[in-house]
Symmetry: D2
Subunit: 490 residues, 4 copies
Amino acid sequence: MVDTSMSTHPFDDDHLNEECAVFGIYGPSDDASAHTALGLHAMQHRGQEASGMVSFDGSQFNAHRDIGLVGDIFGSEHVMSRLTGYASIGHNRYSTSGGTIMRNVQPLFADLEFGGFALAHNGNLTNANTLRRELVRRGSLFQSTSDTEVIIHLIATVRGESIIERMAEALREVEGAYSLVALTADGVIGVRDPLGVRPLVLGRNGESYLLASETCAFDIIGAEFVREVEPGEMVVLDGGEPRSLRIFPKQPQRFCVFEYIYFARPDSVLEGKSVYEARKNIGHELARESAVDADLVVPVPDSGVPAALGYAEESSLPFEFGIIRNHYVGRTFIEPGQEIRNLGVRLKHNANSAKLKGKRVILVDDSIVRGTTSRKIVQMVRTAGALEVHMRIASPPIAHSCFYGVDTPEREQLMAYQMDVEEMAKHLDVDSLAFISMDGLYRAMDETQRNNQLPQFCDACFTGDYPTELTDRASTDSPQLSLLTELQKT
Amino acid sequence: MVDTSMSTHPFDDDHLNEECAVFGIYGPSDDASAHTALGLHAMQHRGQEASGMVSFDGSQFNAHRDIGLVGDIFGSEHVMSRLTGYASIGHNRYSTSGGTIMRNVQPLFADLEFGGFALAHNGNLTNANTLRRELVRRGSLFQSTSDTEVIIHLIATVRGESIIERMAEALREVEGAYSLVALTADGVIGVRDPLGVRPLVLGRNGESYLLASETCAFDIIGAEFVREVEPGEMVVLDGGEPRSLRIFPKQPQRFCVFEYIYFARPDSVLEGKSVYEARKNIGHELARESAVDADLVVPVPDSGVPAALGYAEESSLPFEFGIIRNHYVGRTFIEPGQEIRNLGVRLKHNANSAKLKGKRVILVDDSIVRGTTSRKIVQMVRTAGALEVHMRIASPPIAHSCFYGVDTPEREQLMAYQMDVEEMAKHLDVDSLAFISMDGLYRAMDETQRNNQLPQFCDACFTGDYPTELTDRASTDSPQLSLLTELQKT
Amino acid sequence: MVDTSMSTHPFDDDHLNEECAVFGIYGPSDDASAHTALGLHAMQHRGQEASGMVSFDGSQFNAHRDIGLVGDIFGSEHVMSRLTGYASIGHNRYSTSGGTIMRNVQPLFADLEFGGFALAHNGNLTNANTLRRELVRRGSLFQSTSDTEVIIHLIATVRGESIIERMAEALREVEGAYSLVALTADGVIGVRDPLGVRPLVLGRNGESYLLASETCAFDIIGAEFVREVEPGEMVVLDGGEPRSLRIFPKQPQRFCVFEYIYFARPDSVLEGKSVYEARKNIGHELARESAVDADLVVPVPDSGVPAALGYAEESSLPFEFGIIRNHYVGRTFIEPGQEIRNLGVRLKHNANSAKLKGKRVILVDDSIVRGTTSRKIVQMVRTAGALEVHMRIASPPIAHSCFYGVDTPEREQLMAYQMDVEEMAKHLDVDSLAFISMDGLYRAMDETQRNNQLPQFCDACFTGDYPTELTDRASTDSPQLSLLTELQKT
Amino acid sequence: MVDTSMSTHPFDDDHLNEECAVFGIYGPSDDASAHTALGLHAMQHRGQEASGMVSFDGSQFNAHRDIGLVGDIFGSEHVMSRLTGYASIGHNRYSTSGGTIMRNVQPLFADLEFGGFALAHNGNLTNANTLRRELVRRGSLFQSTSDTEVIIHLIATVRGESIIERMAEALREVEGAYSLVALTADGVIGVRDPLGVRPLVLGRNGESYLLASETCAFDIIGAEFVREVEPGEMVVLDGGEPRSLRIFPKQPQRFCVFEYIYFARPDSVLEGKSVYEARKNIGHELARESAVDADLVVPVPDSGVPAALGYAEESSLPFEFGIIRNHYVGRTFIEPGQEIRNLGVRLKHNANSAKLKGKRVILVDDSIVRGTTSRKIVQMVRTAGALEVHMRIASPPIAHSCFYGVDTPEREQLMAYQMDVEEMAKHLDVDSLAFISMDGLYRAMDETQRNNQLPQFCDACFTGDYPTELTDRASTDSPQLSLLTELQKT
């Protein structure tokens, strides 16, 4: 039997994927690491490949980083009992191509002149390679290929009388999107890039203050949401009230609209909007823009569910689970022989034939990247006996790569880069296909329309309208470590 | 993925839990083990603690059994390449209290006088201890505490000219519920107990024939459903058409009604009924029996979703995901200090506050066992701002233990054994509480009403009306291995 | 440590190898398992592949078995803290070809009608296959291919009112060599076969009594040697004085002479003789029988050292470590390309060229099996500059297989089966070669000469004169488990 | 690095221990890593805790480092097949206090501006902490506490047009003892400190050149010894003949005399002297200096054997193995209860009572550090029945710590710091005790006597006469990483 791994991140192999979640807490109690583990667990959807945590207990830093799910990494008394301390930061990481290397797992840690320093990062720098080359030339030794290490070496080598001065100085040299959480012996520091592309929220739990990528990380531990960290703001948690430092001049925000479409949890509230409601709103707009005569509205679970509910509500058609999702998928799964390889998609999805047979079905999904999964799902629905299949997509066509911390395929692999909507419909074998319009999307976000001069969101994956310089994009080389293989200790 | 949909309920700690799934395949191709792995994966909801497989390749038997999810156990080339053969059986096991011991992981294997013999079992014998004592007295050495090994020792020691004769002879000595799948050098054998309590279905994939606990195991590999194995029937797959042997006289069936309520996947079809439709039907009946004035119908995900959809449909109230479920839960999770232990439930569920605030909510769940989870969920919904909480349960009150292969707590821990409905409502802190009536349940199953003389289903967990003798129940001792701890090889 | 001394011969791939050591202790204190671990460690030379222990603490049996060295298997608090109890037995196992299977690692354990029963075995039955076939026919299910399990199934199925009666009854059915140690809830039992082929000694430590294969296992814990267990005797340790039961009529003993030549540790005393002195005596005899004009006597370390010392003493030639042995050899080592494969022998031995250059060297080794290692060592000594190499062997030529628990190659691979002494000398490229004569060997054992009618020792590997029936030898098939591969849990 | 703790290698806990072996090879064939593994194995006695290797194959560097023995780490095809290349360096490491941290395992690797760079180090810098503080101040981020990393950061930040210029420049800043082997894309580089304290030898195998700590590493692969690398010399292997660069002015050498006494293998030849002969010479001198009337000369195996042979030769007394050593000792062993803890020494040594009883014994050992083991051995010999015990030690009393790469305890724990010889004799319970005299030691080294103005060897552990500055010794702080615990990935 032929057996090769179908996917090492089986959960959404045809989606854009957020690369990270960050979390930080500073508080009087000694539960910092337990709270951090819970917060990371609540944000597991933002990174399932690896997680890490660094805590500080007043005299020592303690760390644990591993590949796997939060519950498995931080699930043992053995591990948690060593992560002592009243301050802690954590990070979830999404897998990148080529497998996760342990030394890229965050938070990164360094011994600076000032003492220990840990850093966790959500986002992506667009001039990291340029900065890296200069740092190596001056004698900095890199252990990883991550942007995060570039920031740490900058902090180690720039001038500045305190760690805060140095962080500010270092960040003035970088371009791109970042929501950072750092830990020092003095406190926890949060920073958001000047455009506020990635989310970062401030919370409170009694006398403890917290930072997280999403509000759901507060809910799990019963903490309350205080406010967003503002674009270009540095927040310092070191006892008492959080201190706010403005390290960049104020600019109009360019928050990532895809957080609402897919990345964030439906129960999170971002920039004042319920993600669940935003998705249902998109469903309403989509139903208004592209109504069709049909019997059922069926979501592609799980991500298509809220938009499908909104579509059904607006169109007054029945909402049914015509596709059932199997959540039990291990890290890897067998790749059977050619004959049964096409069945692969059914590892996650199965048609609920009793419901689909003889019906005209509106299939609602949140987005299409390569189209590979969508095509198989349509085929499965037809095999189950559906008479017609109409596909409705809760985002505009994705035609551009993201350079701000989202794992996108090469542009050439994007279905919407290769084909127009009519070609896509044919390729997917659907009776009709419609994406929400750009203005429809902005309406669902409570805007009248997109401001084309200064868009209210970062929507570069749809429009190619990137809000920052893309310095590294010009240069062809990406950072490489000379050491090809360091075999992992088994 | 954090989902808002229905799924195959992982890690529900306040549910009754099926103990097993079985699978078998005999066919011309060499893909037996790949198909078995896929089938077991599709039935992962019936047992998440451990899985095993034994294949036969014409000259040798090959086995692999381990603790973990199917995708992890059978996900490597290393493992699959050794499980060669055209015939194979597999098993998923649910964890029982006290942890899973490797030697209890099925299929069990033995070298009989006739050659190798592997056996996988879904169900539970009610005279296993009695039989075991006699076997030990005669010199049989037991390696496990499982019922399955009792059956194997019976087969090894009874008279009979062939393995089939011996299996029939051995099964005449046992009482209880069982759906068995066995593998010998000659073929794959399936047997269902005389009352057909546990499911077992026959499928076909080209020239290959298959046996499985549920039809969803056929869907994943594109096989077609042929028919149920009948109560008291033995089916032999050894090339050509399956052979059917009647090893017990025909009796009216007593299929487990809880398979429809909770155990089976919604996309399975059991005894001719769609599980999804059966659950929606229960929702319809429940809405008719216990209507209440409210704003929203909210399922407790994932298991309450179809009944909630049915309830919303019948009551014309909006259906909303007011509770979001996090499917990323590792095997274990941190056991935090007392202070944050109460937050435990939020590892899996979070309130979607934007939707619940100021609303009168009908909460729909499939069943209540101890009530511990339900109580926390009600509290969470109230904290999120719901004005009223009305709970509706898609099964009658569970007041009796199951002795047929379902993991039930001690009767004293069952909420419905301790309290009447009014007390339960108070304990759960709901504004109203209603369970579906027994006749309502039978109506949802397309029966006019329950036949109290000869019930159409096994509903003993609600009624205490057990369809077989409970021989072992009288005796106080359960089988014990003298060896307390065999430390696992790390 | 790189040593120049004699030691307990690890990893000699061109030696006969003992398959096992056994140990048992029953005593008032709770240190049974710690003492057992120490005793097994002292007897590590009798089996390096795997070890196991079963203890009894008054209510439960506890077991741990693993592959590796005693110090690694029983070196952790984690393991030892669970092996509670005042009685314990243990076993070291030598690797057999094809790798050790976990289920063959002893002690084996079974739940008998009487309760738990653990058994460890040094030796080999010569009618095991015959007995096994009959047991399987009657319904016994085997888990391993070991002789030991045959004994356990016999005990489970024979008649007898107590475990002791049953053991005696069962042993009357077996042929071959065995020193057994068993553990029940009532005590520890030791048995030696009627001819006393394998060693078994009784010791005392305060109120504790002990059984072991060699006296060095008593030394390590400060226990004193009491006496040999006699051939055909069963000794029961259950508090108070050991009880002795004669389960076989008395016969003249046939102790394995190779225990003195190579198997046993030099500091052990067996059947009243110091192993070290016996080896030096052989050296004396050898020097008298085969003197040669030379400059140095050089042992092949470690096993040739005492005989070389004796030879040097008798011949008044200088004794020098002309070959240095590296004891740091891991479980496995790289299998380098063909070009450097011939260097293999140097993993363990290196010539001390400063000493050998220009010298006529007498090389003393304990025995020759295949001759592969000897040949490489001679070549190494010549390359280091030796003028002449005279080889002297402290045993007669090995020309027959052992059927009593010693791992011997196929007879066809024995150098002495293929060639006469002259051919061997040529093949090994030595200037002269001499083995001790049979009568020389017996003289070194303090006998006047070998009694050819009734030899004082088992010397079948030299003479082919086997002291028992070899029932299984006639039949061609060896026991096979149908299950080819059970993949190990990683 | 100075390591003042006790060893974690529990079975040589009363010896000074060398911290490292280094190896390097550059040659036309692709066997670099296989040769390196063999060379490291031959030098296992210089470090048993961890080993590592970095190879270069013309385009990529490949590394593998792990904790354990060479044969275990590099014993699998899986590992070796990835360590491709024609150039390679390797390192064995001795354990330091508190367990070995993976990031301290050498060779260390860095991405310099010039490309990949790997470094392995035997020795210890005496101004490492001072240099480290300055490097951290300038922005260097340290990953380990090792001296080796100090050298790498110096190389990364000093000026120089090539890696060779930079290495020379960097080494001019360091003080202490070092034998270095480095790997770059251009070749393998060996450097020895200006005093040549630690050994480093150059060898040749066909067209391949090699560097190693000891000649035994050449023997194992059939390579020939060429010459010592000279004190203060840098040797570059990059194809063709080795290039020699003098990066320091010539000075009289101060080779470590303890290499002859204990560290090196007896079959190695260092600075022109056979280690085995040197040890026998010491035995001769010792017998002349401190003769005593006795029956037997008995070595403490293994390290006392050659000196004991020399002593026996000179004194014409019989040489006997009165103590037997068990070489099978795992990494760790049980720590039994207090009652049997005193038996600990017998894990390694057992008295050969048959030989010792009623005898006057001269016990010869190589050195005494704390005296704990010696005391137990004397007690064991007396218990075995020896009438008198006279101890003779093949080195002068050790009364000073080593700062050049040898693991010595705190000075206060050295027996010779606390007591004079008479007190020691009493403490050890011997009838007489003698150490070789300082001039006796020098005579055994073929010197007339010690040159007290400019000693011919480094003998600081006996005399306190340190050949370099001890800059760090004044400062109280040792380098610490802020990160207390990074839990190892299991």
